[in-house]
């Protein structure tokens, strides 16, 4: 579904990604793990059209992503719950969700079912539907960011560090929901520092170190790998 080939991205002279290749097939959940500064967020931002690529190719559903703007990529089916959540502070919870339907909404198409599904997944958002975005807790903001991404009816869901800054119990709760989203058959690419959580939900994974893919394999293989155990699992 998503194919990235030999991707190089740089901020000025600083090269953030060196010839990264990876692939996400329809229906699978792929984790991209690595330490702070490895280039994980850069990769997701580039898929969403926020960074220019220096070289390489990105294809989604067989077509090149290059000519599409950020908004067009959402329309094509790529939605992201970005790093730092970036929910709209001046909009209510419900407005934050509804505003994300603009990619597919036409006159007469209703978002009621979409909203009900998100509220079913995250009941806490339903309780707070009238509250403004800025007043939510970190965990609620993360749920809202994921819910907002789902409202655009994506084919591929990109999650950027959903556990960041959350208490362990909350991070587990968020990942429990990611698991439920996975069961609906949605394709997911999740970027995460918390290797245990990410590999628990993923089928496959890639390990990114200073802008290069250094390891790839099934979630089980990665969990057993010496390199991952030492560097990321602390055993």
């Amino acid at each position: 579904m998503l194919r990235i080939e030999d991707l190089t991205v740089a901020y000025g002279d600083i090269v953030a990604l060196h010839g990264v290749s990876l692939e996400v097939a329809a229906g699978e959940t792929v984790a991209l793990i690595g330490a702070n500064g490895a280039g994980k967020t850069t990769l997701l931002q580039t898929v969403s059209g926020l960074n220019k690529l220096r070289s390489g190719r990105m294809e989604f559903g067989g077509a090149s992503l290059a000519p599409l703007s950020s908004a067009d990529r959402v329309r094509a089916g790529i939605a992201q719950a970005p790093e730092g959540r970036r929910i709209f502070p001046g909009l209510s919870v419900e407005e934050n969700l509804v505003v994300a339907t603009s990619s597919w909404r036409r006159l007469g198409k209703s978002y009621a079912d979409d909203l009900a599904q998100v509220f079913d997944l995250f009941p806490r958002l339903k309780e707070r539907r009238r509250q403004l975005g800025w007043s939510l807790s970190g965990g609620e903001q993360q749920m809202l960011a994921i819910g907002r991404a789902l409202m655009s009816r994506p084919k591929l869901l990109l999650l950027d560090e959903p556990s960041l800054g959350l208490a362990p119990r909350l991070a587990e709760e968020v990942y429990d929901r990611v698991g439920r989203i996975r069961e609906t058959g949605l394709t997911i690419l999740v970027v995460e520092q918390n290797t245990v959580l990410a590999l628990a939900v993923a089928n496959r994974g890639y390990v990114l170190e200073t802008g290069r893919v250094v390891l790839a394999g099934s979630a089980d293989e990665l969990r057993r790998s010496e390199r991952v155990r030492e560097a990321y699992l602390g055993r």
């Binding site: 939605a79 992201q80 970005p82 001046g90 509804v98 403004l132 007043s135």
Partner: protein, 325 residues
């Protein structure tokens, strides 16, 4: 919802009561206040919702007024008919200008729109065959309704009160539509907006055009009320006044636009004793408002409303309704 209906009813009641009780002079001020209110409700789309700082709002008001004035005095159109090209032409101009201009942000956009306003004044003052130059255009015909001319301050006030009411209700619908929400999303976080599938450029341009259309309606009201326009009526000082009205009343709120327009129309009259030092007072007042009540009068009111019902579940945020009536 109930609050909005209540606010509308209160607005109409106060407006009607004033229209039959105050002096001719106060009526004239009320007319200027309602005309400003139309412009400021429009500015609220650009500044309050989409976060686009515009110091060129008076130019769009002027463009609308000039189109109407030229069509009625030189081409003999009826004023009602002339409002149509005045409004549509101004909206179109805002789209054409907005596409390149709205690539700018923050201070740069403020300066560029200021330049736009100054340029408008220069063109209006120098294209003498069309605009009459600094002498302006006189003898602009007034509006009439069902064969009755809307002449005099009181009948005109009834008309302008109704126009403000209709445009305020319309603005409130737009605000709560997906277009309004998209504008606010762009204001809050442009990158996140594009990542949720919102076309940021189109959203900004439409907010800008919508604000220009409201300004053009204000310009049409102004021209048919005063019957005379000149470039000075639309110089950039008026743009700054519109922005001040919105900030004093409460940016992002329609009620705030109306309250701010009324207050800043009457304040110079109430404080006439201050003479020249009014400007110093005005500057200090703006400073105090920006520091102590950044959400304006409406923000202050909704804060009182919240603390009045403290027993209700603690909602740290504005409930949304009070802040955006």
């Amino acid at each position: 919802m109930a609050l909005r209906v209540l606010a509308l009813a209160a607005y109409l009641a106060i407006g009607l009561a004033l229209s039959v009780s105050v002096s001719e002079y106060t009526l004239r001020l009320l007319n200027l206040a309602t005309i400003s209110a139309v412009a400021v409700i429009g500015l609220n789309f650009a500044f309050g919702y989409a976060g686009l700082i515009s110091l060129g709002h008076a130019a769009f008001m002027g463009l609308g007024a000039y189109i109407l004035a030229i069509l009625t005095t030189q081409a003999g159109w009826s004023p009602w008919l002339a409002t149509l090209p005045a409004i549509l032409g101004t909206g179109l101009a805002a789209v054409v200008i907005g596409v390149p201009l709205l690539r700018l942000k923050g201070h740069y956009l403020a300066l560029a729109t200021l330049g736009l306003n100054v340029s408008f004044g220069i063109v209006a003052a120098n294209w003498i065959e069309l605009t009459g130059g600094t002498n302006g255009i006189a003898k602009i015909p007034g509006l009439s309704l069902f064969g009755h001319a809307i002449e005099g301050e009181r009948p005109f006030l009834w008309l302008s009160l109704a126009v403000v009411a209709v445009l305020a209700v319309l603005a409130s619908f737009i605000q709560r539509s997906r277009y309004g929400r998209a504008m606010m999303a762009v204001r809050d976080d442009e990158t996140a907006a594009s990542m949720t599938g919102i076309n940021v450029t189109a959203t900004k341009v439409s907010a800008f055009a919508l604000s220009a259309i409201y300004a053009a309606i204000a310009g049409c009201l102004f021209a048919t009320h005063v019957h005379f326009i000149s470039p000075d009526d639309f110089n950039f000082a008026h743009s700054i006044t519109f922005l001040s009205m919105l900030i004093v009343g409460g940016e992002g709120t329609i009620a705030g636009a109306i309250i701010g327009a009324a207050l800043l129309t009457f304040l110079p009259e109430w404080l006439r004793v201050l003479g020249e030092s009014y400007l110093a007072f005005f500057g200090l007042m703006m400073l105090a408002i920006l520091i102590f009540m950044p959400t304006g009068i409406v923000g202050l009111l909704s804060r009182f409303r919240r603390s009045a019902k403290r027993e209700a579940p603690p909602a740290p945020a504005s409930s949304g309704e009070g802040a955006r009536t």
